[in-house]
Amino acid sequence: MPALTTHLLELTQLGSEITGVLDLPEKYWPKPGQYLACQRLGDLECIAIPLFRAFGDLGQPCLASIPETWHPGDRLAFFPPMGCGFELPKSARRVGLIPFEVSPARILSLVEPSLDQGAEIVLFCDPGLPADVLSRLPSRVEVLPLSSLAEDSTWPDYVAVDLERSNLVSLTERVDLFNLPGSVEVLLRTPMPCLGIGACGVCAVHTRRGFRFACTDGPVFPLKGLRHVA
């Protein structure tokens, strides 16, 4: 699988994350939850990193998290989109998004496809969003505290979650995600140093079908497929 090349067009600070726009043909845009394995050309001392589809201006391939050392104009090598992303059901009309103790940049990449199919969207997050993120959200996206989902868990017919692998237990202690009426998918943040090339095992996730690798089998998993996450 030979690498392709592109360059970084622009950078934006979105909450705590730096997002960037790459000069990419549309066929290489990762779906929400998928990632591009990306490396700055000549940066041989650093391994390639995963860049996820992030929230940005409509119709632009915005990716996160861009390293602080990268600048507009940098040339990048990348592999085509990798991993399993979110599968937003076509029937979903009430979409809940939960960035749990992480930046909302990645989960908000579901805003555009959700709006495209006429869904209502609620972002459940504690604490509230940074002002720069809030100001860029389309008006049809409502922002509520996580406790409101716990109080009315029947509202969403689809929920997407973004969290650190180690935080799944603490989220499910606050909201009974396993018993929501709709489907729930989880983007598990975990280091993926080999990006599927080496099956190194660092990103192993314990599922009901045994251990799976986030880099190749995920990083988005159906919540009901997860046994527990150690």
Binding site: M1, Q39, L44, E45, I197, G198, G201, V202, A204
Partner: protein, 261 residues
């Protein structure tokens, strides 16, 4: 007689057609040219470490970056030797390059059992011995004796193990020695520490020195080195190593530059 029957197999020559291999743990259990086109540049494929019984990922598995490299702790998950043979023997046999199976040595008896299971498989060039982190000369001798069979043995030792084991290796004269990444420890959170192998260019000077010592002892050496640049390959080759082991550079987008003089 073309074969000296008095010479233990682990002492017999082992030849690589090209002066590169992958480091164990870097490219999986079996070669896959669709994922890794650079396989054609390797003289042999080294498998992930395989143990006598299945191993699950470590609960505290971690990737911890530091300046110039990173520490990797995985627990060396693998399906165990029986299932590994069932799952990968066809891929190993059909591969375009010879296979070196890396085995985790937990005891001499377990090693002997694993060697017997691996002998007779197609296209296996040798067996690498992943030594325990604490391995004294007597243990190394016992391991080499237990592993003696029809396949050449390649003990793997971290740079930190060289001073303690080099005299024993001189006596044993294995077919080859594989110098692998040293182990290290980093703090995580709540006062806890994680230990694992260190990767990346920061380890190169240590690896070069250890490779020089092993070559000076008259041993055939495969040397990993945290290789990121071609000049590092050239420096290792100039010390007289037989082959260079490539680690995380194979996870990058442009490993080809390593192979071009």
């Amino acid at each position: 007689m073309w074969l000296d029957e008095d010479l233990a197999f682990y002492k017999r020559d082992l030849e690589l057609s090209k002066p590169f291999v992958n480091a164990d743990g870097v490219l999986g259990f079996a070669p896959d040219t669709r994922r890794v086109p650079t396989l054609a540049k390797l003289g042999a494929f080294i498998t992930h470490p395989i143990s006598i019984r299945p191993r699950q990922p470590a609960a505290n598995r971690a990737y911890l970056p530091f300046n110039g490299g990173f520490l990797l702790h995985t627990g060396l998950p693998n399906p165990g030797v029986n299932q590994a043979i069932r799952r990968f023997r066809r891929s190993w046999g059909a591969a375009d390059l010879p296979i070196i199976v890396n085995v985790l040595v937990e005891s001499p008896a377990a090693l002997a059992e694993m060697v017997r299971k691996l002998e007779g498989l197609e296209n296996i060039l040798g067996i690498e011995l992943g030594l325990p982190p604490v391995c004294d000369p007597a243990t190394l001798s016992a391991i080499m004796a237990a592993g003696a069979g029809e396949l050449p043995l390649i003990p793997c030792l971290g740079a930190e193990q060289v001073p303690l084991l080099i005299d024993t290796l001189k006596d044993l004269q294995p077919s080859m020695v594989h110098l692998v990444e040293p182990r290290g420890t980093l703090p995580v959170q709540d006062g806890e520490f994680v230990s694992g192998r260190l990767y990346g260019p920061a380890i190169f000077p240590i690896m070069l020195k250890a490779a020089q010592d092993l070559v000076a002892a008259g041993l055939s050496v495969i040397a990993n080195g945290g290789i990121a640049y071609r000049w590092q390959v050239d420096a290792l080759m100039e010390t007289g190593v037989t082959a260079v082991g490539l680690g995380s550079v194979l996870w990058g987008t442009d490993p080809e530059s390593i192979f071009s003089p």
